[in-house]
């Protein structure tokens, strides 16, 4: 018996020793919500950046760390604030030099289900990993130099170990920073709203919320579903690009500035309608402070232009002229897409 115990201890020691020499990150597949599992395709996880516990933890720490900014004053979370569904409450965001950007901060959730993998309002970022690169070096955002960021991370007391655990035997690089943050961002999943529970048969909608859903799904009234999803597509976005009739002429070309195709001018990515309670102001330039203003715009404020989406109706009348009751009910429905639990579990690391 004693001999058996000695052999066992030897094996345990050997096992520990091997672990230290070649640490393998622990796989951490996404926890896919039931309403997604039941209805839509699996999330997009790049083959060269699988989800791991160490990668996610590193990405979370980096996301909330001001070490990425030029003067150490801002982190990703400065604009993507967890308590606002990872958006902020400014029309456009202010960088470390105090200069305002031109776009409203997009919230961050359910990004792994963006099947086309075109990110940002204008679709200029062709993967979640690549999206992370730009804000760090953008002069009106974090205004940092990637080489200096890597130097700072290498000189840090914790990061070299954390990187080695997440990406063994690879030197710290911008590529690894983006991979880690993208892994963390893919874990930001929002699917526990009242409407999600309604889809699972756990709660009922009020009469006003039900009518709001009908307005949303009615081609003759809201006709929101053609661009913003449906109970069958609970992302509540098509992640596609549309000119929704905000302007007759464009100061911001949106997708058109990226593709160079004038027929794309004025097109922006449909944002998800989840968590609107936290993500005001609205639109790519944050021009609307309230949901009431947004609905009024779609109802009476449409502006004709050559690239306006043909799904926008009655443009010559400014829109579909919803009744006050339908407007109020539509907002009541939209607010059922609010997921308070999403705010509670996604803060900075301890």
């Amino acid at each position: 018996m004693k001999q058996l115990l000695l052999v066992f201890l030897f094996l345990v020691i050997l096992s520990c020793s091997n672990t230290e020499e070649s640490y393998s990150p622990i796989s951490a597949p996404l926890d896919i919500p039931e309403v997604f599992e039941n209805n839509i395709l699996p999330p997009v996880i790049p083959l060269d950046n699988p989800q791991t516990e160490e990668g996610i933890a590193l990405g979370r720490r980096l996301f909330f760390d001001r070490i990425l900014s030029g003067d150490g004053s801002q982190s990703c979370a400065s604009c993507h604030q967890p308590q606002l569904a990872f958006s902020d409450d400014n029309p456009t965001s202010r960088g470390i030099e105090g200069e305002l950007g031109t776009r409203n901060t997009m919230p961050i959730f359910n990004l792994a289900w963006n099947y086309s993998e075109r990110f940002a309002w204008d679709g200029k970022e062709l993967s979640l990993e690549r999206q992370v690169l730009e804000p760090v070096s953008n002069p009106i955002e974090m205004n940092s130099d990637w080489d200096e960021v890597i130097d700072r991370l290498n000189a840090h007391p914790d990061y070299p170990t954390l990187f080695n655990q997440a990406f063994p035997n690879e030197p710290i690089s911008a590529d690894l920073v983006t991979k880690a943050i993208a892994q963390f961002e893919r874990t930001l999943i929002s699917a526990n709203s009242k409407f999600d529970r309604y889809l699972l048969g756990e709660v009922s909608l009020t009469a006003n919320e039900e009518n709001g859903l009908n307005v949303f799904m009615d081609e003759a009234r809201g006709d929101c579903f053609h661009c913003h999803g449906s109970p069958n597509n609970p992302l509540w976005t098509d992640n596609d690009f549309h000119n929704n009739g905000l302007d007759a002429t464009f100061t911001d070309l949106g997708l058109g500035a990226i593709t160079g195709d004038p027929t794309d001018n004025g097109k922006f990515r449909s944002p998800s309608l989840r968590n609107l309670a936290y993500t005001a102001p609205y639109m790519h330039d944050g021009r609307f402070d309230s949901l009431e203003e947004v609905i009024d715009f779609y109802s009476e404020g449409l502006q004709a232009s050559p690239t306006i989406d043909p799904l926008m109706k009655k443009i010559d009348q400014g829109g579909v002229q919803l009744t006050d009751q339908d407007k109020a009910d539509l907002i009541a429905f939209l607010l059922t897409l609010t997921d308070p639990s999403f705010l509670e579990t996604q803060g900075p690391p301890n």
Binding site: H226, D309, P310
Partner: protein, 256 residues
């Protein structure tokens, strides 16, 4: 986007029984066959691709000048029927997305005797298939609201036309299962999916089947489509859906 499900069934029971009696002979004749379906689009004789979109370059039978901005449609249920009326139905569907340039072809493989077959597909989804839940079509935002009976669009054809006041106006020529909701609950006056009959085709070990879709026919035959009258909110309009169904009959043919 093709989805090839494992279900494959004989479409005629009598034929199945006859075939079963001759299964030994049939087995000897079976060969691996790959069928490659592709879709080419035209406006009458002019080829159309997404490079031609967003441009007022097409004129309908009724004289409306239009631009195409978005075109996606479903085909499903490939049928292969031999000279003895023995057939197979493949429970597949494919979303042809001309806008994105995706799903313009699909292929599948099976073991069948080489020979001449009548080949048919379904435009849209039959009612049984339309009642199923497809994650890929949901993800593509191709659903029909429950208030209209649910299921999926058969086609989403969006664009603009020059209206009678010489202004640009959007149109949404969306084909779905015809539905009447005037009584409050969905009632389905007639089926509006339809069969695309490609005629007889020699099927060898690798067979390319090119399908020609003449988009002008959606606005032409037998109903000259008046976009000034029928341009949007056509999904809850059962009469408009039946007109689309009638016009769709002449849209697809074998590209020879």
């Amino acid at each position: 986007m093709i989805n090839l499900k494992y279900k494959r069934h004989f479409i005629y029971l009598l034929s199945f029984l006859l075939l079963a009696c001759n299964s030994k002979d049939q087995d000897d004749l079976l060969q691996s066959v790959v069928l490659n379906f592709s879709f080419e689009h035209f406006w009458d004789d002019t080829p159309v691709s997404n490079a031609d979109f967003n441009d007022f370059k097409f004129t309908t039978e009724a004289g409306d000048v239009i631009s195409i901005e978005r075109l996606r449609y479903l085909v499903s249920d490939v049928q292969i029927i031999d000279a003895n009326n023995v057939g197979l139905e493949y429970d597949v569907y494919n979303l042809v997305d001309v806008t994105a340039g995706e799903g313009l072809g699909f292929e599948f493989q099976d073991d069948i005797p080489l020979g001449t077959y009548t080949v048919r597909l379904t435009f849209g989804l039959d009612n049984e298939d339309n009642a199923e839940n497809y994650a890929d079509l949901n993800s593509a935002n191709f659903n029909v609201p429950e208030m209209l009976g649910g299921g999926y669009h058969y086609m989403q054809f969006d664009g603009k036309f020059i209206n009678s006041e010489s202004a640009e106006q959007g149109f949404n020529y969306h084909a779905i299962r015809a539905v009447d909701i005037s009584g409050g609950s969905p009632v389905f006056p007639q089926d509006t999916f339809f069969t695309i009959d490609l005629g007889t085709i020699w099927i060898g070990p690798s067979t390319d089947i090119s399908i020609r879709a003449n988009l002008a026919e959606w606005f032409k035959n037998p109903n000259s489509w008046e976009l000034n009258e029928l341009n949007s909110v056509l999904m809850p309009n059962a009469n408009a859906q039946i007109l689309m169904y009638e016009n769709g009959q002449s849209v697809f043919s074998l590209n020879e």
